[in-house]
Amino acid sequence: MTLLDNSPANPEDRWLLRLYVAGQTPKALHAFANLTKICEEHLQGNYEIEVVDLLLNPTLAKDDQILALPTLVRKLPEPIKKIIGDLSNTERVLVGLDIKPLRQKNQRESDHD
């Protein structure tokens, strides 16, 4: 399990994301790269990414109801959301993670400037 802690400024708005992969497959690496890119762009350090390798922890596949790989699970904020695939479609990842409002908020903030 790899932790990528980007020290949340506000614990209320903290994002906890978990990425399930099975070994270092191209799809997994791709997904991780895409995810960090999106998070950097839209969550501005207020996030935490946990990478779970199911080859090392196969029981988690059952416990967390994982079928497809790679799967990204938004653990926080609730409710839990799941996104599958290599996260190459940024627009859909944002919709899936429900990040839009944040970006809109950012946009609104920039409008005020």
Partner: protein
């Protein structure tokens, strides 16, 4: 050449129709409509594998949660939790909700494979069930990926060497909605559930089974408290043994009519007759006799309850209750309309397997017939009869024929399957109805062609000769009348003879008296004659003596003359 290895399912009948079980180490597809028993069959495969063959199994459910499954199967007597505790079973519920999942870009189903692989490895499973994997199609939208991944999944299962069951929902024109049969090419079982005349019947068919012989018919199956059972009929044919042993019918006169010894053991007997002709009573006699010999009997009653039958048979002096207490007789009572014919036969099949009887009574078979079409009935009945013959069980079936119509037509022509056919008929004449019994056929034995009057008395059934005379066949009181009349006539005749005999006797006496009188007269006359003769002799003797005396007196020197001389002398004098 190595034969295909098979994994026995342990499910009653299924191993017989598949000739040993499912292909080992390969996936088998079970498809069918909703509620036809796919999940049950799959789960029973695992449970029996775990309990009977010590083969642990993984159940991956895409529909029901594990606690739901546990509850559902508890009603069938399967304790899944216990098996889980013993590491003989793993239930993995796969939760799929398309609304929770967003798809972005490329993915695969490695997660599913890891889960499955972990499940298999953790308990060293030999059997796997995926129920029903088609749920994936509603969970994921990229069908191209899905199909590629399914192919990988099945390859994975084969590599693991597990015997797998995949269930699939029936499609419009295909076996499964998403064409799973395309991936699972080794063995496909199709379950269906048809309703005919409001009665539902479950059936199973082996659509294909690569590399193995298998039955091709639709086999009825049953889901009951013991789980799944398929009627194993593929193995039956016309090669059952034929016993020469004869068993009494329970009615002495009927034994006499059947060549003096009764039915053949293991034969099938049909008793036809209209309502109230005593079919059940005849059946009761048969089982009463069988139980008295210590044989086991199974009585399938579709019209009366056990207590009712026992009470009714008491009225003709048969105590069936005692055999029930001694566990020699068992009743199976069910309304015929409870389920379809096939189902009945499966139920009967199971009951026979459990009780292991020597004799079986089906009373009446015609009720079963009403629940299915004619051709079905014939095929099912012949299977049943073949099965009974195979086990050398003597089967006695009663058949209620309609009042109108020709009783010999034989309901649904099952009569051709029967070895012995008795017909009970009402003989109606002069305002009363009497029962008559005929033997329409009895294969392999000489039998009476006569009608007998069939009388139900306090001491059971009695067969009596009917009156066959100038005025036709008479039964009942007409027969009694006729017999009384005959008796009177005979008495009359007898009296006349006796009178004539007395006359003769008298005549004889009279004649004898006459003879005596004549004899007496004759004797008297004879005596007279004798007296006369002796008198004459005396007179002549006296005369001679007188002459001699006279000669002496005359000093005659001539010797005394002969009789003739005497006479001459006398004459010359």
């Amino acid at each position: 050449m190595q034969n295909l290895l098979k994994t026995p399912t342990g499910i009653k009948g299924l191993d017989e129709i598949t000739d040993g079980g499912l292909p080992q180490g390969r996936p088998t597809l079970i498809c069918g409509g909703t509620g036809c028993g796919k999940t049950l069959l799959a789960m029973e495969f695992l449970v029996r594998g775990a309990t009977q063959f010590n083969e642990p199994g993984v159940f991956m459910s895409f529909e029901e949660k594990s606690d739901e499954l546990t509850k559902n199967f508890a009603s069938l007597g399967f304790d899944l939790n216990e098996l889980i505790d013993q590491n003989l079973l793993t239930i993995d519920h796969v939760h799929l909700d398309p609304s929770e999942i967003e798809e972005t870009g490329e993915y695969d189903l490695e997660g599913l494979l890891i889960r499955l692989g972990f499940g298999i490895d953790s308990i060293d499973a030999k059997r796997v069930v995926l129920d029903t994997i088609e749920a994936l199609f509603s969970g994921f939208s990229n069908e191209a990926i899905l199909r590629a991944e399914l192919r990988r999944l099945f390859r994975f299962l084969k590599d693991k060497g597990v015997t797998a069951i995949i269930t699939g929902e029936q499609g419009e024109s295909t076996f499964t909605r998403y064409g799973l049969e395309e991936y699972v090419a080794d063995c496909v079982l199709f379950l269906n559930h048809t309703v005919y005349q409001q009665i539902a019947t479950r059936r199973m068919r082996i659509v294909k089974y690569r590399g193995s012989a298998h039955g091709t018919n639709e086999y009825p199956f049953l889901i009951d408290q013991q789980g799944f059972s398929v009627m194993p009929i593929s193995s039956l044919g016309l090669d059952h043994p034929a016993s020469n042993e004869r068993i009494p019918t329970g009615v002495t006169r009927l034994d006499t009519m059947l060549g003096g010894m009764g039915y053949f053991r293991g034969s099938s007997i049909l008793i036809s007759g209209t309502a109230g002709t005593g079919k059940s009573s005849l059946a009761a006699h048969f089982i009463n006799a069988a139980c008295a010999r210590g044989e086991r009997c199974l009585y399938f009653a579709f019209e009366e309850s056990q207590n009712q039958i026992i009470r009714n048979m008491h009225s003709i002096g048969i105590n069936l209750g005692q055999w029930v207490e001694q566990d020699l007789l068992q009743f199976q009572n069910a309304r015929a309309t409870l389920y379809g014919l096939e189902m009945h036969l499966v139920v009967m099949h199971n009951a026979i397997d459990q009780f292991n009887p020597n004799c079986v009574v089906i009373d009446p078979i015609s009720n079963l017939i009403a629940t299915a079409s004619e051709s079905e009935v014939k095929s099912m009945m012949s299977r049943m009869i073949d099965y009974l013959k195979m086990k050398q069980i003597t089967a006695l079936c009663t058949d209620l024929s309609l009042i109108s119509g020709n009783p010999e037509r034989g309901e649904i022509n099952i009569s051709s399957l029967m070895d012995t056919w008795l017909l009970l008929q009402i003989l109606e004449a002069r305002g009363e109805r009497n029962r008559g019994l005929y033997i329409l056929k009895s294969r392999g034995m000489a039998h009476s062609n006569q009608v007998r009057e069939f009388i139900l008395s306090d001491d059971g059934i009695q067969l009596r000769d009917v009156y066959i005379g100038l005025s036709g066949v008479l039964t009942g009181s007409s027969r009694d009348n006729q017999e009384a009349k005959d008796l009177a006539e005979a008495l009359d005749c007898q009296q006349q003879i006796e009178m004539r005999q007395r006359d003769i006797e008298r005549k004889k006496l009279a004649i004898e008296a006459q003879i005596l009188a004549l004899n007496t007269q004759f004797e008297a006359e004879k005596d007279d004659l004798i007296r006369l003769i002796s008198k004459e002799k005396q007179r002549s003797d006296t005369l001679l003596l007188d002459m001699i005396a006279m000669g002496k007196l005359k000093q005659a020197d001539a010797p005394p003359p002969s009789h003739l001389k005497n006479n001459e002398l006398g004459a010359s004098k």
